[in-house]
């Protein structure tokens, strides 16, 4: 927006507002704020006069204190910030950065650590399980070998059984006619 007389009026109003809030004197009028040396750069000097005390200027320290207190409102009135609206010799009190109760990094760290510990536990447990399974498998193969030996050591050796060619049982063979032919 362009800087014109209306903006100057607003500025005077904001300074008067700041003075009223700060010293809680409701006597400061817009006419008490005087601007001088306005340049194209949009920079100027201003003074605040005190109409109650024989048209003297309010001391600079008071004006500074008033502006500092209401800096935020003045900035917002002009849609500017501390950087773009500069008052010479008035340093702004800086607001501290918002700090959450637990630092954020601690939360992230907790997440990362939980994942790692879960991974380690998983790997160790799976290692133990594989180890147990391997042990079990090896004992099973041992049992299998024993079984094979047992069957051989049984009364009738399997091979002996197999050698006998299949005997046809006469009882069943005769009933062949009873079965339906396919």
């Amino acid at each position: 927006y362009a800087w014109d007389a209306n903006e100057e009026y607003l500025f005077k109003a904001m300074v008067a507002f700041a003075m009223r809030r700060h010293s809680s004197k409701s006597t400061t009028q817009i006419s008490n704020v005087l601007l001088c040396n306005v340049t194209d750069r949009v920079s100027f000097w201003f003074v605040v006069t005190d109409s109650s005390k024989n048209v003297t200027t309010v001391p600079g320290s008071e004006v500074e204190a008033a502006i500092r207190m209401n800096r935020n409102r003045i900035n917002n009135a002009f849609l500017l910030s501390d950087k773009t609206l500069q008052f010479l010799k008035i340093t702004s009190t800086l607001s501290p950065p918002v700090e959450p109760s637990t630092p954020v990094w601690l939360i992230v760290f907790g997440v990362v650590l939980c994942l790692i510990v879960a991974g380690i536990i998983f790997l160790i447990v799976s290692g133990i399980q594989k180890h147990k399974k391997k042990n079990k498998e090896s004992t099973e193969t041992e049992n299998l070998e024993e079984k094979v030996e047992v069957t051989l050591e049984n009364g009738i050796p399997c091979e002996a059984l197999d050698l006998k060619a299949g005997h046809i049982n006469g009882v069943f063979a005769a009933d062949d006619d009873r079965f339906t032919s396919l």
Partner: protein, 611 residues
């Protein structure tokens, strides 16, 4: 029955799932943080594109031959570093012990660097990034003084991360946040190396490939940033005059050597899990070329971002001057822009010279900003983090960047840990019935406890010492003895027969020449030049001292004598193993046989070990 859940070969030795895993592990070991933060710096200070000439010469005559030697050795003998060198000759067992020791020392401090990376990573999830704003001082009227005088990025690194002491003799206190991150880092290393190559082989797919993805993303983003082209032209403009300086050749040779992670024993360990009939020659050439290409590829985004940062700093400088001039002369806004700044300055200087002089304008020179070269941790944690703040969406870039650094470092850690783990496993420090997980757990726990020293206030000074002394000179010595040992004690003829048996074709003349003469000679020259350069001035370091008069410049200090003694110890201990073990065996032999014999004991051949 062995308790190892890995699928064993006939001799019970674990093996890689596939060839790609092996190559990727070697590449991951070689490609580390140095490729990102040391190579671009060297390129920059040594004449840009001209540096590539000594670099590739060193690669050809030093890097690839030594790499081939180590891979062939490990594959042939199928043992870790200590076992392999003991097999070649008991007199050379010291070479293996030396490698093992260097791997231990480097693992200790390398993981602390990863701790810093992790700390930055977990701090990247905040808005705004904690290194972008200065904290306020007590009465909230201004910023913290130390932060204000240096920069917010410097403050976060030196105070909030390291909490650095002004002198190495002052140890300071333990930084609990670093201890937490260190524990997490060692837990990650344990998680990945818990069963040796069975687990690292799976992890390497992620940690070795992911950095390339991120580098590509940064490449694309970096090239779109303003000022990227300035950075790149600055990096690659060759200045052939620098080649006359022998320092450049020395830096190229040492960079290739350390970049390929030779003489750590890790490569021997990796190769020992290979089947013997494997083309190690092709592997060596592949790994070396990929490593160098990665260095080049990484320097492009790094320099785009550095160019962007320099340009932004230059614009800030100009803008500040412009504001001052406009305020002084009450000119309307936007009358002076960056483009017509110089013409305005000359006009104002001619018309109102006293006023201009009174303003004390800082001279803004883009070249000066580009010349500010940093390497190492300064590049990653100060320069790059500052550049990230300026990019839109800084959190995402910071997270990506630090995960990439972490993966790069982690894949190198695998190699280091493997160089420690495999020899210990073969020496059977723990009983055979105990699971592998126990040994890796013990290694990680002991390393974590020792590395707690690096979390003190003076920790980063100690890491610099370890990096400069334990991770440099001993490696050169060990590599020299490796080549001499294989070529002259094991005999090149026998070795070339072994390699021929493994690769299936006759050993190229190139390898014969480089192994016999060129590489040992180069190593000797590099070693002597390196030591001479170190001896030229008393070892000193730069300390961050807020009370220093030239703060924020770092204060140059000399190491106290007890620290210098430790430096010498660190450099000498692995080297001294080589003659000590040889002497030990010589004495043993002399005691056993009445007359001393100079014939070395029976040397086994790799074909004999496997036929």
């Amino acid at each position: 029955l062995s308790a190892t859940p890995e699928t064993p070969k006939e001799d019970g030795r674990p093996k890689w799932d596939n060839k790609f895993q092996y190559i990727l592990s070697c590449i991951g070991f070689a490609v580390g943080l140095g490729n990102v933060w040391r190579f671009p710096y060297l390129c920059q200070i040594h004449g840009g594109g001209a540096f590539l000439i000594p670099y590739f010469i060193a690669l050809l005559f030093e890097g690839i031959p030594l790499l081939h030697l180590e891979l062939a050795l490990g594959q042939c003998l199928r043992k870790g570093s200590i076992g392999a060198w003991n097999t070649i000759s008991p007199y050379l067992g010291g070479v293996g012990v030396g490698s093992w020791m260097v791997s231990v020392l480097v693992s200790l401090y390398y993981n602390t660097v990863l701790t810093w990376v992790m700390w930055y990573f977990i701090n990247s999830f905040q808005e705004p990034l904690p290194w972008s704003v200065c904290p306020l001082n007590e009465n909230r009227t201004g910023f913290n003084e130390e932060c204000y005088e240096s920069t917010a990025v410097n403050y976060f690194w030196y105070r909030k991360t390291l909490n650095i002491t002004p002198d190495i003799a002052e140890s300071g206190t333990f930084q609990w946040w670093l201890i937490l991150c260190l524990a997490a880092c060692w837990a990650i290393v344990y998680l990945c190396t818990i069963r040796g190559i069975e687990t690292t082989g799976k992890a390497i797919y992620v940690t070795a490939i992911f950095p390339y993805l991120v580098l590509t993303i940064f490449l694309i983003q970096g090239l779109t940033l303003p000022g990227a082209t300035e950075g790149l032209t600055y990096l690659f403009t060759p200045n052939l005059n620098t080649l006359k300086n022998p320092r450049v050749w020395l830096d190229a040779a040492t960079q290739i050597f350390f970049s390929l992670s030779l003489a750590f024993g890790g490569l021997i360990a990796f190769a020992s899990y290979n089947p013997t009939k494997n083309d190690c020659e092709k592997d060596a050439v592949t790994v070396a070329i990929v490593n160098s290409m990665t260095s080049l590829y990484a320097s492009i985004p790094v320099f785009s971002v550095l160019g962007f940062k320099a340009t932004t700093a230059y614009w800030d400088c100009l803008d500040r001057n412009i504001i001052n001039i406009i305020n002084e002369f009450d000119l309307p806004e936007e009358s002076i822009m960056r483009q017509n700044y110089t013409s305005w300055i000359s006009f104002l200087n001619s018309s109102y010279p006293e006023k201009i002089a009174g303003l004390k304008l800082k001279s803004c020179d883009l070249q000066e900003f580009l010349d500010q070269s940093v390497s190492g941790t300064g590049l990653a944690f100060i320069v790059f983090t500052q550049a990230i703040i300026l990019m839109p969406g800084s959190q995402a870039w910071a997270i990506l960047f630090f995960i990439m650094l972490f993966s790069l470092g982690l894949s190198s850690m695998f190699g280091n840990i493997e160089g420690v783990f495999t020899p210990l496993l073969e020496l059977q420090i723990i009983p055979k019935s105990a699971p592998k997980e126990l040994l890796s757990g013990i290694i990680c726990l002991i390393s974590f406890l020792i590395a707690l020293c690096f979390t003190l206030g003076s920790g980063s000074y100690w890491i610099d010492i370890f990096d400069r002394y334990a991770g440099s000179v001993p490696l050169l010595v060990i590599a020299f003895f490796e080549v001499i040992g294989v070529v002259y004690i094991y005999k090149i003829k026998r070795f070339s027969e072994d390699v021929e048996w493994m690769t299936g074709r006759k050993l190229n003349l190139f390898w014969q020449i480089t192994w016999r003469f060129i590489s040992p000679l180069l190593l000797l020259i590099v070693f002597m030049a390196f030591v001479t350069l170190q001896m030229q001035k008393p070892p000193s370091y730069t300390a961050w001292n807020p009370k220093y008069e030239d703060f924020p410049m770092k204060e140059e200090k000399v190491y106290p004598p007890w620290v210098q003694a430790i430096c010498v110890l660190l450099a000498a201990l692995p080297c001294v193993c080589v003659p000590l073990v040889a002497l030990f065996h010589l004495v043993k032999r002399k005691r056993r046989s009445k007359e001393p014999s100079l014939v070395p004991p029976e040397v086994s051949s790799c074909q004999g070990a496997n036929s």
